[in-house]
Every structure is written in C-alpha cells, then in structure tokens.
C-alpha cells in the first residue's frame, strides 16, 4: 500500500494506473522470462559440464567393448564399436582373480570404515564434552597433524609398521588409517553441536558415562558418522600406494592394485584396462545407488555443521 500510493502521484497521465495489481503481472512476466533465460543459461552450462564429465566415462565403456580390430585413439573419437564384444571382460576375468581382489577390497574397506567411526568418536567425545587440563592443546596438536602431507609421514610410518612386524598383513594396511585427524575434528564438531541439556538430563536419569556415550550421544551424531563413513569408504576403496608398499603377496591385493597388473612393460592393451576399470567401478556404483540418500544427507549435514 505504501508503495502503490507514491507511484500513482508520480504518473503524469494519472487516471490509467490505478493500483498495483496491473504493474504486478507485468513485473512478474519479465521476472518469469528473466528466470527462464537464467534457467536456460544455467542448464546450458550444466549440460556442458555434464558432458565433459560423462564423455571420458562413455569413452571407457566403448573402448572396453571394442574388438582388437577397432582403433582406440582414432580422430575423431569413435564411440560406437564396429562390433560389440565382451571378449575384453572375459580376458580380464580369466587373467586376474577379480573376485579375490574384490573380496580383499571389501575386507580392507570394511575395517577402513568401521575403525575410524568408532575410534574417532572415542577420541572426539572427551575433546568436545569433558573439561580437563590441556584439552585445547591436545586438540590443536591433533589438528596440526592435518597440515603434514601424507608423503612426509609415509616413510616413518612404514618403518613403524615394519618394526611391529606387520609387513604383508591387512592389519598393516588398515592400522595407519584407523584414526584420522580429520575424523576427530569432524566428530568433535558434531558432539559440540549437541545441547548441554541432553547430556544433563541423561545424567539426571542415572546414565553413567558409558551409557551416555553409546545410548545418547553416539546416535545423535549419526549424520556426521555418515559423512565420515563415506569419506573413509572412498579413501579405503581407492587407496593404492599404501597397500602397495605394505602388501607383497599378490593374492592379498585389493582391486586397485590388482588391476594395475594389466599394465605391461612393452605392450599395454588399452581395451583390457578399460574393461578392468569398468569391473572395478561396478561395486562402487552399487554402493552409491544403495546409499544415494545418505550421500546427499551427508553432504547437507556436513555443510550445515561445517
């Protein structure tokens, strides 16, 4: 009302413009078209980005289905094989013990996800909720280690694992990643976000510290646990260099390492590598499809809390 009044006085022709319902649809129309063109532009860019991300993937699929007679790096790239063949998949399956590699990956990833969840929460809880001397110093020194790149600590950690006699064992692969500074940091933030009153009422109801942790606090940080689980999953599944340094028995290789054997010194069969990459991708896709909802939830929760 306050807006419409001055507008009427400002119009020199006066009578035609009565009140704001008439300019309003006009404004809405221009707003709509502006919105539409904005949408078109953003969709255009999204399409460009999507095709940039998808093309290599499509190329890999098409290469994996090409027979030995099709060129791999032709110009322009050909996406449709002249003759679709599953020969490459069969060869990869027959040359390498793929199910064994996948199983090894599953074991390593299972512990690589489970241990950080529990241990980081254990470490983070007192740092977030308990009062003790030097708490901040402890937290700061944990966070400070995030500044050191992995490459620097690799050799000392290798020496420690060697001295512990854990070379060539899954334990040696899992142990260094069982607690991460990032995990402790994330979990501490999550615990700090829980209202003090929840904790106090649980104590009044007679919960001891162990019950307080498992029954009250731990379930309340589920979204952050989800985030951490996904981060750990990706890190464990894709881990290459560390298992490579620790494991020396090819029957213990995870899939990332196993597939590397397709690369030869003299001749590398690009089609086999493409087929191997697709085989390794399938489990990740299944996990993603199954947990899609949690992936997005995890992204939300981390964005709010972070």
């Amino acid at each position: 009302m306050a807006q419409s009044a001055p507008k009427e006085t400002q119009t020199p022709t006066g009578a035609v413009v009565k009140h704001f319902p008439s300019p309003e649809p006009k404004r809405q129309g221009s707003y709509r078209s502006r919105k539409l063109s904005q949408k078109l532009i953003s969709y255009f860019f999204l399409l460009v980005i999507a095709s940039i991300t998808v093309i290599p993937f499509l190329w890999t699929i098409s290469t994996s289905l090409k027979s030995q007679n099709d060129a791999v790096f032709s110009i322009p790239p050909s996406f449709i094989p002249s003759q679709v063949t599953f020969e490459n998949y069969i060869t990869v399956w027959n040359t390498l013990p793929i199910p064994l590699y996948l199983w090894n990956s599953v074991i390593l990833t299972f512990f690589g996800v489970l241990l950080p969840l529990i241990l980081c929460a254990f470490a983070a809880f007192p740092l977030a909720r308990m009062q003790f001397k030097g708490r901040n110093l402890v937290f700061l020194s944990i966070v400070a280690t995030m500044m050191i790149p992995n490459e620097v600590t690799m050799i000392p950690v290798y020496l420690i694992i060697n001295q512990l006699g854990l070379m060539g064992s899954f334990t040696g692969v899992i142990l260094p990643g069982a607690v991460t500074a990032l995990g402790i940091f994330l979990m501490r933030q999550a615990f700090m976000g829980i209202p003090k009153e929840v904790e106090e009422s649980a104590v009044i109801d007679g919960a001891n510290i162990w019950q307080l942790f498992w029954k009250i606090m731990f379930p309340m940080v589920k979204p952050m646990l989800g985030t951490l689980a996904i981060l750990s999953f990706i890190a464990s599944w894709n881990n290459f260099l560390w298992p490579f340094l620790i494991l020396n028995d090819p029957t213990m290789y995870p899939i990332t390492l196993g597939l590397y054997q397709l690369e030869g010194t003299f001749v590398t069969n690009t089609r086999l590598i493409a087929a191997g990459a697709m085989i390794a991708l399938i489990p990740i896709l299944l996990v993603f499809i199954a947990l899609q909802r949690y992936f997005i939830e995890a992204a939300y929760s981390s964005s709010v809390k972070g």
Binding site: Q68, N69, A71, V72, F73, S74, I75, T95, L96, S141, A144, T145, I148, V152, T153, M154, I155, P156, Y158, L159, I160, N162, M167, F240, L241, F244, L245, N248, P250, Y260, Q261, E263, G264, T265, F266, V267, T268, N269, T270, R271
Partner: protein, 452 residues
C-alpha cells in the same frame, strides 16, 4: 635424503621424537649396509672358499651349498611373462635345492617409491630388476652389491658398452639384463604423400624431411619427446664428467643444437605436448599425425593395439644416428641387495637370470635384445631382415646395432635430477624464448651445484 627426513621429522610436533628415533635407526642400518657393501665381494670370496674347503670340491664352489630364501622383484612383467619367469625360477631351484625363490612383480610407475621406501628401512628384495636411474640412486645409499667384484667371473660375457650401465661412484652395481636399442617405425603413406620413398637415417635428414612433410601433409616428422635430455649425448655432447663431477654440456655445439631445435619448433615442426609428456608417441603415431617414431622395436606392437590398420602398413628402418654415430642402449638391470640374508644365493640367481641361455629365451618371448654377446649371436636375431612385420624387422636392425651400442646415461647418482635440469632448461628455450646460451649457462651452474 637422510637429512631431509630428519628436518621433516622435526616439523611434526607430537611425534617428532618417534620420527627421530626411526630415522636414527635408519641411518645406522644404512651405514651397516654400506659397510657390508664394500666388503661384499670379499665376503663372497670367503664364503666360496669355505664351501670349497668343506666339500673339497674342485672348481664349482657355489653349487649344492647354496641355501636361503630369495625375493625376486620384477618391473611390470606379470602376467605377460609369468610362465617364463616361473620356469626360470623352477630351473634355478632344481639346480640349487636349498634355495627358495619368490617372485614379486610391481608396476613400473610405483617402483621408485617402493624401492626407495624399502631402501630406507634396509628391507630391499634380495634380487631386483631395476632401471638404470634407480640403480644409480639406490647404489648411492650403499644398498647394492658391487658387481665388478661379485660377478667378476661373468663380466666378460656382457657387451662392454652395456656393462657400465650400473656404474656409479667408481663401481658397477648391476648386471645388465634385457636391453633395447632404437629402431624406426614409419608410415610409408605419409612419406609418399610428401614425395619420399625412404625414411631418414640421420638427424639432419630427419629435420629437412620434417619440413617438407609438415608443409605437404600437416603431419609431423621428427619429434622431440620427453627423453630429450638424451639428445645431447646422441649429438656427441657428454653431459657430465664423472671424475670431476662437473657439467660438460655447455658447449658451442649444444648452443647450436638448441638454437636449431628452437627454429624447428617455431616453424611448427614438432608439438610441445609430446615434449612435455602430455601426449604419448604411440597415440600420435596411431593417429597418423606423425610420419615416424624412433623407439625400441619391442614397443612397436603398441601401435597394433591402438590401431591395427596403421600398424599393418607400417615399415621398420634402422634408427637415426647423430653425429656421435653410436646408438644409445638402455638395458634393464638386475641388482642384488647388499643386506640380503642369502647373499651368495642372490648373486648366483642374478647371474643365472642374466646368463646367455635365459636371456636368449627372454629375447624370443619379449622381443627384446640380450646384453650378453653369446645370446645376441643366436640366429634368431639375424632373422627378420625380410619380415613383413614391422616389429620383427625393427628387431633385426636393432640387433645389428647392438655391438656399437653404448649406455649414455650419466654415471652419477643424481642422474634423474641432472636430466630434469637439462629438460627444464630446454623447455625454457622452447616455450619461454630464453636465449640458448643463457639457458645452458644456468643449467650448467645448477648441475655443478647439485653434484658438488
């Protein structure tokens, strides 16, 4: 390196003490390793003498007495050569029933990281397949057995120009294994379109033809690849003086070479993405964007994998020769860890892997060339002169050049860094228009500072 780890250790706050402890151990390990390394040959002799005395055997000291477990590390040879390697190991174990050899194959790209990590903890495999740069780096830790002493009895079997491949700090730390010299695979269609009926045989010819090919067909001819640091020795410009540890490449000839290459680049005759390693030569060749590719014939078949049609029409020729008139041969090497628990067995196994019989067989399997003269004389390598297959024919030419081939890698432990300095300075000339003389002056100063 040791010093570097120590300072890095100091930067970690909480675990600094732990790290220092670890590095301290490490330094001791290495000191021990280098100590025993110096004596490796003697120790070996003593052991041999003992076994002589014990058995009262006549000459073959190392036979039945050998025992122990040996880990044998190869670079990217599985699963392609699994049967060959397993058969060889089985033969050796049959000859020496007390020895148990386990094979571990590692991907080439990750081998450096693995071997350096293992070397730092005194945990190297007993017998290793290493490339030349690794040998020189790891030998500098004192972690490898001196082969001039340990394998003195077989030294004369190898080509002289190849034996020195593992030479660094006054001794040879590796037995040369399979090797390659270059051959040339070329696309006769592109040459014909440009009006040529034969590929070039010298660098000079190559660049002249490149210009015509580029102007008529748009394809490249001669291309400078990632290994461009090898252009200096191929043009008879030695890189480093091993005795005085100084750079020797800052000469008028080098200035002339780089000025010349810069002119070729400015005329569009070679692409920078191959030089920078962003595009691999086999891909470029398979796309018919380059008229020839100079490389080891064993790699020719990669073209067949990428585009069978292009491979089908390709032909092979002898490799280009520079003013030095000699081919560069870069063998793979077999080294023995000086901290091995079964040193005698490991040295014996290394000799076994590189002997004429096994090298000949591997040469047949993998289309590579042997580093021992006896194997190279086999009729197998004389075949292929009239072969239709580019690789077989390339192998023939490469084998012909083996006698005159020499390993041109600089014999200093910092070989990788030296090569990188040369490459960087070349890139500055090509991509940043730096004056060749200025670039070479800088590179010389950097190399001298590195080697001092």
């Amino acid at each position: 390196m040791m010093r570097k780890w120590r300072t890095m250790g100091l930067t970690t706050m909480g675990s600094a003490l732990l790290l220092l402890a670890a590095c301290g151990d490490n330094a001791e390990d290495n000191a021990e390793a280098s100590g025993s390394n110096g004596n490796a040959g003697e120790a070996n002799e003593v052991a041999d003498n003992q076994s002589n005395g014990d058995t009262n055997a006549t000459t073959n000291a190392s036979d039945a007495e050998l025992s122990g477990e040996i880990e044998f590390m190869t670079l990217s040879l599985l699963p392609a050569f699994e049967d060959y390697l397993n058969n060889m190991i089985a033969d050796f174990e049959e000859m020496h029933p007390g020895v148990d050899v386990t094979l571990r194959d590692v991907p080439f790209e990750q081998a450096e990281q693995l071997v350096l990590t293992q070397a730092s903890s005194g945990d190297l495999p007993d017998v290793m397949n290493l490339n030349t740069d690794f040998v020189k780096q790891i030998a500098a830790y004192g972690a490898l057995v001196n082969m001039d002493e340990a394998a003195a009895d077989v030294k004369d079997d190898f080509f002289e120009g190849l034996w020195t491949t593992g030479y660094v700090n006054g001794a040879t730390y590796a037995l040369p294994w399979y090797t390659t010299t270059s051959g040339l695979i070329y696309n006769p269609d592109i040459l014909a379109e440009a009006g040529f009926d034969a590929p070039p045989s010298t660098y000079e010819e190559a660049w002249e033809m490149s210009q015509v090919i580029y102007e008529t067909t748009g394809a490249y001819g001669e291309v400078v690849d990632e290994q461009m640091h090898m252009l200096l020795p191929k043009h008879d410009i030695p890189t480093v003086d091993e005795e005085s540890l100084t750079a020797t490449f800052n000469t008028p000839e080098a200035v002339e070479l780089w000025t010349h290459l810069k002119e070729q680049y400015d005329a569009g005759l070679f692409p920078d993405d191959v030089m920078l390693g962003q595009v691999a030569m086999p891909e470029l060749y398979a796309q018919e964007r380059v008229a020839w590719w100079a490389t080891g014939p064993q790699l020719f078949r990669q073209v067949n994998d990428l585009d069978p049609e292009v491979y089908e029409k390709s032909l092979a020729a002898p490799a280009l020769l520079g003013p030095a008139g000699r081919q560069h041969a870069n063998p793979m090497n077999i080294s023995v860890s000086s901290s091995s628990d079964s040193l005698d067995a490991a040295v014996e196994f290394a000799k076994f892997v590189t002997n004429a019989e096994n090298q000949l067989e591997f040469g047949k399997e993998a289309s590579v060339l042997p580093s021992v003269a006896e194997a190279a004389e086999d009729p197998f390598f004389a075949e292929g002169e009239d072969s239709e297959d580019a690789m077989e024919r390339g192998r023939f030419y490469a084998a012909q050049q083996l006698e005159d081939a020499v390993n041109m890698t600089p014999s200093v432990e910092q070989v990788s860094q030296v090569n990188e300095i040369i490459r960087d300075s070349f890139h500055r000339v090509i991509l940043e228009d730096m004056d060749p003389q200025v670039a070479l002056d800088q590179a010389e100063a950097e190399v001298n500072a590195l080697l001092q």
